[in-house]
């Protein structure tokens, strides 16, 4: 089921559109293997080809729970899910329609995750049926029987055997064979596919490209002859005539960092944030920027703050545990009003938690993590496209308001791949060069505007602007404040900046009717899944709407009034909350989801919440049921 259909304009012609292909609106495909067999590369390429053909696409990686998992183990499941549709796809969807599995064991963890349904087609490598080890042969047979009991439609296929005709080691190469298979099954453009393969292996030379093209062709032929499925998902995605691009969220962040005119990314390796810095490091030379890999998370933000103090635009990119370490520095940036952009690619917590999996649990610590009152801006992009634009927004806010800006993305946005309109660059985003003109010494370094709390800062190099920045309470001259009044006043000004920003924000748009029984409120990467579930319920006549917040500090204006037009408001989040009906839970001791807590405090509306921490992105089907259940209680 897809939403946001856009009218077809320029459908990319497909070369091989078999007359027998069945037209379908969308499908969810998974490729699952042991770690190191290239399933992710296969799926990413398939997603890119589909995106380039104009299909709606969302991909999500299936990451093994261990670094070097043993072969053929449920814990080792490594792979990728690609949801492709005729029109825009905004989330990973529910159960898969078709799965290609390199061995049978890896499917168990997917089944345990509820990734498959009755009727899910499994194309399974049958090499294990004739394995020399009897134990493996038995495991395989037992698994196939179990899958069939689950209602999976299993096709045992000689994938290894076919690959051995072309390569000595099918561990390297089977993925391109499978790519050929699924490109045939879904009537993909073979020229485009071969271009993508050539691009992927460009660094390895023509011989390697040719070998992979041969594997692709073999897989394509094999599927045409041996696989009884042939579908077509006609693309309608056009971006209203705009040029489109396709990337994951961390790449979008990286592109945004450059387009925002950042000169320095100061980071420490942490999953799932690091791939953003990897990407930036690859291309940063082009804009004259530098990635500093610091000795630790604290030094990483310290280095960025030093550069920012000296007038250079810098950011730091991290994830939950790194955020915890950075809090003292964030407090310093608030206190001394040093502009800084902090990108937090959230993962499951607390502690080391779920390093590769999604959670939206850093909201409260972002808002309130520092000792003392530390007002700062917190924003959350909801789509991969917004991951790009919000970095530019974050820089502008940080400098205008002389404040840290925390941008919360998550593992779902970081690794999800989706097509979006190619941004039109603007030179103004790069910012002005560092001001080195003399400073008017009658203007103090914290010349707080009475109404807004805003002030301009002198930059080292500006004559007569010399001042000593300090994390101690200070006067407007940045002198250590030994009087009680200075502290009270400077706190007021720093807080007032958020009120000033709040004044400039637009009222958020309700998705659906402006009034009704239930308003679902979300933030961050869950937007696509929430709106898909809400649209489905609305199509069935249910009085439900949704609202997606992008500003979390300050909150967007008009919320109490919007909330007042619904019988009930409920947040949907990926962080922990007590279920209202759980043992011992009463309205008095119930712990709410994070945005719900903020909204309850700020709006005095009795906001309910529904949140889960399974570590995977929200599935619209699951959400549909949760919202439907809530609606039923409201109407009874």
């Amino acid at each position: 089921m897809t939403t946001h259909s856009e009218q077809s304009g320029n459908v990319v012609p497909m070369q091989d559109r078999g007359g027998d292909a069945l037209r379908i609106p969308e499908h969810i495909v998974e490729i699952v293997s042991d770690s190191g067999e290239g399933a992710q590369k296969c799926g990413q390429t398939f997603g890119t080809i589909s995106g380039k053909m104009g299909n709606g696409v969302w991909t999500v990686e299936i990451i093994p729970a261990e670094i070097q998992p043993p072969a053929r183990s449920p814990a080792g499941a490594s792979g990728i899910r690609i949801r492709l549709g005729s029109s825009r796809v905004t989330n990973m969807g529910d159960e898969a329609d078709l799965v290609v599995a390199f061995n049978e064991q890896v499917l168990f963890s997917r089944i345990a995750n509820g990734a498959y349904k009755e009727g899910t087609i499994v194309l399974l490598d049958n090499k294990w049926a004739s394995d020399p080890q009897e134990k493996i042969r038995q495991q395989y047979a037992a698994a196939v029987a179990e899958f069939q009991e689950h209602g999976l439609v299993v096709h045992e296929l000689p994938l290894e055997e076919e690959c051995l005709k072309l390569v000595a080691n099918p561990r390297r190469g089977k993925n391109m064979f499978v790519l050929g298979m699924i490109c045939q099954i879904y009537s993909r453009d073979t020229d485009l596919a071969k271009q993508e393969i050539a691009h992927t292996f460009a660094a390895k030379g023509d011989k390697v490209i040719q070998a992979n093209h041969d594997l692709f062709d073999a897989g394509y032929r094999f599927a045409a002859e041996q696989v009884p499925y042939h579908w077509e998902i006609p693309p309608q995605e056009t971006g209203h005539g705009r040029r489109m691009m396709i990337s994951n969220g961390n790449q979008a962040v990286g592109l945004g960092v450059m387009a925002a005119g950042m000169e320095l990314v100061s980071m420490y390796p942490i999953t799932p944030a690091t791939s953003a810095s990897h990407y930036i490091a690859e291309v940063f030379d082009g804009v004259g920027g530098f990635v500093h890999q610091a000795e630790d998370e604290i030094a990483a933000i310290g280095f960025a703050l030093g550069a920012s103090f000296a007038g250079k635009t810098a950011c730091t990119i991290t994830s939950g545990p790194g955020m915890a370490l950075k809090t003292e520095m964030i407090g310093l940036a608030v206190m001394a009003e040093i502009p800084i952009v902090i990108i937090d690619v959230q993962r499951g917590g607390p502690s080391t938690g779920l390093p590769t999996k999604v959670e939206q649990a850093d909201l409260l610590s972002s808002l309130y993590g520092e000792p003392g009152d530390a007002p700062k801006v917190v924003i959350a992009p909801a789509t991969i496209e917004e991951c790009f634009h919000y970095v530019i927004l974050a820089r502008r806010l940080a400098e205008t308001f002389r404040i840290p800006v925390i941008m919360l993305t998550d593992a779902n946005l970081a690794t999800g791949v989706q097509p979006y309109p190619r941004p039109e660059l603007n030179e103004e985003w790069l910012g002005a060069p560092v001001d080195q003109s003399p400073w008017d010494p009658s203007v103090p370094p914290y010349d707080w505007n009475e109404e807004t709390g805003l002030s301009q800062r002198p930059i080292p190099g500006q004559r007569r602007g010399e001042y000593v920045l300090t994390g101690l309470a200070h006067t407007n001259r940045s002198k250590v404040a030994y009087d009680s009044d200075s502290n009270q006043r400077s706190m007021e000004y720093r807080s007032r900046k958020l009120a000033a920003l709040h004044r400039t924000l637009k009222r958020p748009q309700v998705h659906g009717d402006d009034e009704g029984d239930l308003l679902v409120v979300g933030w961050g990467s869950t937007r696509g899944a929430i709106e898909e579930a809400v649209d489905l319920l609305r199509s069935e006549g249910r009085r439900v709407s949704s609202l997606h917040l992008h500003f979390l500090s300050p909150l967007e204006p008009g919320l109490p009034e919007i909330f007042g037009r619904f019988k009930q408001v409920m947040t949907v989040e990926i962080n922990y909350s007590d279920r209202a009906d759980a043992p011992l839970i009463t309205p008095e001791n119930r712990r709410y989801a994070q945005l719900a807590m903020v909204l309850r405090a700020q709006t005095l509306v009795d906001v309910d919440c529904w949140s889960v921490v399974y570590g995977h992105p929200l599935q619209p089907g699951m959400l549909y049921q949760a919202i439907e259940a809530k609606l039923n209680t409201l109407n009874n």
């Binding site: 320095l264 804009v287 280095f303 960025a304 007038g311 190619r422 660059l425 080292p460 300090t470």
Partner: protein
């Protein structure tokens, strides 16, 4: 003078800096504190080098010594405990035109800031790092520091510090890419001046451990050295810190030591029977991190936009 333009000479006159140009607020340390001597010496070195105050940045952490930026007329950054060095490195990263000075202490640098200490020596960015080592936490009132000698009584160890003191010289010398290690005492003005001046002239991270008096909390640390100059080993060499005869006369124990000799430096640093004073090690050829971090400063907006467009091309459909 022939050919000299009047406006040029006027400008030179206008930009002559006096000690007052480098001075900030009134220094508030305890009477008899060694920090005053260091502050005054820093002012003199800056004046003699005629560094524009607006191009000079004094960065510090937290502690008695870290108040120093407040007493400077330059730009300053009074940061967080243990974090002066990452902040200073960041200042320098994209602004190699700025002259960066770091004031830190034994607790700030060797304890809570030990990680950044190790790594900043390795980054070797062009800055002067002055460690005010009084072997005690002063601001928080007499707790054991990493350099407190065994047995020193403090408020956290009233029966005496249980562990041997950390040796900042051997640790620093042992860090890859170290480029300048000197030690000096705060109560010998000519040596203090020459050492800080040499540190400033070196390109790279110049690590200067200053053995500093704290008459209030750790008098026993410096007193024996002040009273018995034979406990100090004066290092001299034609490539080392210039030592004039007036200084030489004060110290009976002297050693000619070539600052290029790392093994000799390590041997001197390890010898606990004498406190070395002078330049232990200097390597002018060590890698300087800002040579990498400040690359690309000259990119024009047109070049940047072209690079971003080409990055976008890679993802375009």
């Amino acid at each position: 003078m022939f050919g000299l333009k009047a406006d040029w000479s006027l400008d030179v006159f206008e930009r002559y800096f006096t000690l007052g140009d480098y001075a900030g607020g009134e220094a508030r340390w305890c009477p008899g504190c060694g920090d005053f001597a260091v502050l005054n010496t820093v002012h003199r070195v800056l004046r003699d080098a005629q560094l524009p105050p607006e191009k000079t940045v004094a960065v510090s952490g937290i502690g008695c010594s870290s108040r120093l930026p407040h007493y400077m007329g330059t730009y300053g950054f009074h940061g967080l405990h243990g974090r002066a060095l990452p902040l200073a490195n960041g200042v320098k990263a994209r602004r190699p035109d700025l002259d960066v000075w770091v004031a830190t202490g034994d607790g700030d640098c060797f304890s809570i800031g030990a990680g950044p200490w190790i790594h900043s020596i390795r980054y070797n960015m062009d800055m002067v790092v002055l460690v005010f080592d009084n072997a005690i936490y002063g601001l928080t009132k007499k707790q054991t520091s990493p350099t407190s000698p065994t047995g020193m009584t403090t408020n956290t160890h009233p029966h005496g510090a249980p562990l041997p003191a950390l040796n900042p010289l051997t640790v620093t010398l042992g860090i890859s890419n170290v480029s300048f290690v000197a030690q000096v005492v705060d109560w010998n003005p000519p040596m203090l001046y020459e050492t800080i001046r040499a540190a400033h002239r070196h390109r790279g991270t110049s690590f200067v451990r200053i053995i500093q008096r704290c008459p209030v909390f750790s008098d026993s640390f410096c007193k024996p050295l002040q009273e018995d100059a034979s406990r100090i080993l004066l290092l001299h060499h034609e490539d080392g810190i210039p030592v004039d005869d007036s200084v030489r006369r004060l110290f009976e124990n002297q050693r000619e030591h070539d600052p290029a000799d790392w093994l000799g430096a390590m041997e001197i640093a390890r010898d606990s029977s004498r406190v070395p004073m002078g330049l232990l090690y200097r390597n002018p050829d060590a890698v300087v991190y800002e040579d990498a971090s400040a690359r690309g400063l000259d990119k024009t907006n047109a070049e940047k936009l072209a690079a971003i467009e080409s990055a976008l091309d890679r993802f375009s459909i």
